[in-house]
Amino acid sequence: MIARRSLLGGVGAAIALGMLPGMTHGAPLAKVKALGAIRIVVYQNNRPWSWEEGGKLVGLDVDMAHAIAEKLGVRADIAQLVADESADDDLRNGVWKGGLLGFSPGDLMLHVPFDRGFAARNDQVAIIAPYYRESFALAGKGGAVDLEGMPTEWRGRKLAAELDSIPDFYLIGSFGGVLAKDVTHFMSGSEAVSAVTEGKADAVLASRAQIEEVLHRAGDNAQGVKLRKRPLPAFASPGWDIGMAVKENSRTLGDAVEEIVTAMAASGQMKALFTRYGVDWVPAQAAG
């Protein structure tokens, strides 16, 4: 329990996130070890975290899942979950109940928002082990757009965003909607970033991890693509922490996973895992 308390920054936070100290359930961890396998749920089609490439499942969360399983001394049985309308639904499908069409809940789910309000209304799960700080960033080719300028100056430029995302809402809806006609929509943030490296768009608003991973892979095409340094005016999201979820009664497993994640962060293994994808590891604020 000690490790978690320090991660969450206090007992109050631990309670808020559904983890009551002093309660122990030995079964879940023992069950995983007895089976020799842990079922870990990741999102389907969620580059750079988990996506299929050449028939193989790859990504930051996939590598993380393997690292956790290895430390537990078991095999990782990784299941891809199709995202539902909200992350709340995903916890129901992926962790505590399972899908309507037979998707079995996992022992552990990755890429779960680590947020008090979110955790409070999802009390069927315990949200643990915050491992990264997500945030949105603007990237573009120098010269095409003044990256540090006012968004209203980007009128007439080709702007890329993932459909129905905060970046989309911001670009289409802010400043009286003056940029609405300039936005090209993509089905994922990574596709939106690729539009810039492929010369089809001038700038993109996407998550920092999406931007960094695509630029890392783009090689020469990433030349001259830079990130805006200043915050965007009136932008809705200051960033959010990403953690993991276990069933509310799987505390022993949660404890073990949290210890593993803490150790990975301390040893530099976490940073190295992210570096392989060209992503700068940003520790979760809740873990600080």
Partner: protein, 579 residues
Amino acid sequence: MKGPMLRALSGAAALSMALAAAPLLAEGPTDADLMNDAASTGDVLTYGMGPQAHRFSTLKAIDSTNVSKLVPAFAASLGGEKQRGQEAQPIVYDGTIYVTGSYSRVFAFDARTGEEKWQYDARLPDGIMPCCDVVNRGAAIYGDKIIFATLDARLVALNRNTGKVVWNKQIADYKEGYSATAAPLIVKGMVITGNSGGEFGVVGAVEARDVNTGELIWHRPVIEGHMGTLRGKDNGITGKLNASWQGDLWKTGGGATWLGGTYDPETNLLFFGTGNPAPWNSHLRPGDNLYTSSTLAIDPETGVIKWHYQTTPHDGWDFDGVNEFIPFDATINGKAMKLGAKADRNGYFFVLDRTNGKFISANKFVMQTTWADGYNKNGKPNVIPAGRPPAPGEGKGKPVFSSPSFLGGKNWMPMAYSQDTGLFYIPSNDWGMDIWNEPIAYKKGAAYLGAGFTIKPIAEDHIGALRAMDPKTGKIVWEYKNKAPLWGGVLTTGGNLVFTGTPEGYLKAFDAKTGQELWKFQTGSGVVGSPVTWEQDGEQYVAVMSGWGGAVPLWGGEVAKSFKDINQGGALWVFKLPK
């Protein structure tokens, strides 16, 4: 040379034999039979009991004087653990009742004994995300085939005698969020289907396929800017690019045609309703967003749109416009007219000239509409601006009350039209919703500007209301109030009767003229299917599916109190008068 030639010869011989046998093998309902379904009382061949979907039978052996004696003939369980959401309408032909079940299953039962003849279970991938339960609304019959759509967006044709697959075609990619739950419509040897998918990125379309092979004949996207096709060739753009959409949002504009359609042989037009526009937040997509939340009239030969009428311009309430458009004839202002009617999710009952889509009238059929105050003479709603849900980020946390709720004044459940009384019988619901911006929302693990909502009753004594609407005056002639939301289809007969089911488990019969409740039977689980009637061995039968589910139980709040004690189920019930 000898071998191949012999083989060719035997091939030809086999072919001629097959041709000779063909009439026998293909025995079953023809196009003409399907078009005549409303008049033929010995069978139920189409979803809606006729292509115009009146759900009216001239049978009158069971009538308002003797319906109180109605008793079960038999019940047949759909078995297994898949006991939820039986929204299907049975098909009855040649001594067999065909029903579809939840989880994309089809059953053939003996119409006299209820014994199962065969069952088909589609193998579904677990990556499907159906928005609104695992339902299916019914099958189509044609020749020797039973055809139905699956949750993973496939169309499957089964041999109606054996249940074996004849053909199986993907109609859309479930991995992109597409699904299919509606009963297919068969017109002129073509299977006509819409598509469903609640997720963003989906574009509504209507498609026609060869009933014998499943091969695509035409494809008509319903969002302006998209190209239609006819036999593999471009066949003109839907509407005019960017006329009512900004930027590239038309590419992912929504408008799913998830409820299927009706057909009117008199005007040779298909009528399909279209879903709400995407994204949900209307402030991001200024304009009417055509052709979302509309009724479209489509030429069955080419898939070309002949007219459209938009029931909710710039839909910001998730009202959809998918509800069935039912052709009927009436005299308006002394003039005999070919009309059509639609009871919309938005709470208004529309009457249009079905030859050209011209607006005739729109009248409220629910208690309250906070989003608009009637329609003007041009067929445009008098929108109440304060009733529009706010843009994300504005008025954070402050709820706006909106009625009807997004589940609608009437949802998928089909109404009926009596040629005897001239009334439409609408299964409706009186409920509203509080809607507010959700500052801490996440989608696919990423921060998101979401909306929170709670559906709540607006009357103390009911949510559901079966209402008889006079299409000529727009007046409600009678209403039956039900505690829980109504979610099943309606049937009306020449015996002065109206049948519908309730979530409380009853199939009920009402006097078609007065609304007086005359009979009820407890089926053991909520009734959310559509009843049918037919004549067999000289007796009149009534059948309905029982099995609580659909979208209602997926939403909680105060509304859930009205159905919390209702149990799951899955059975076909068949009734008749005792001898």
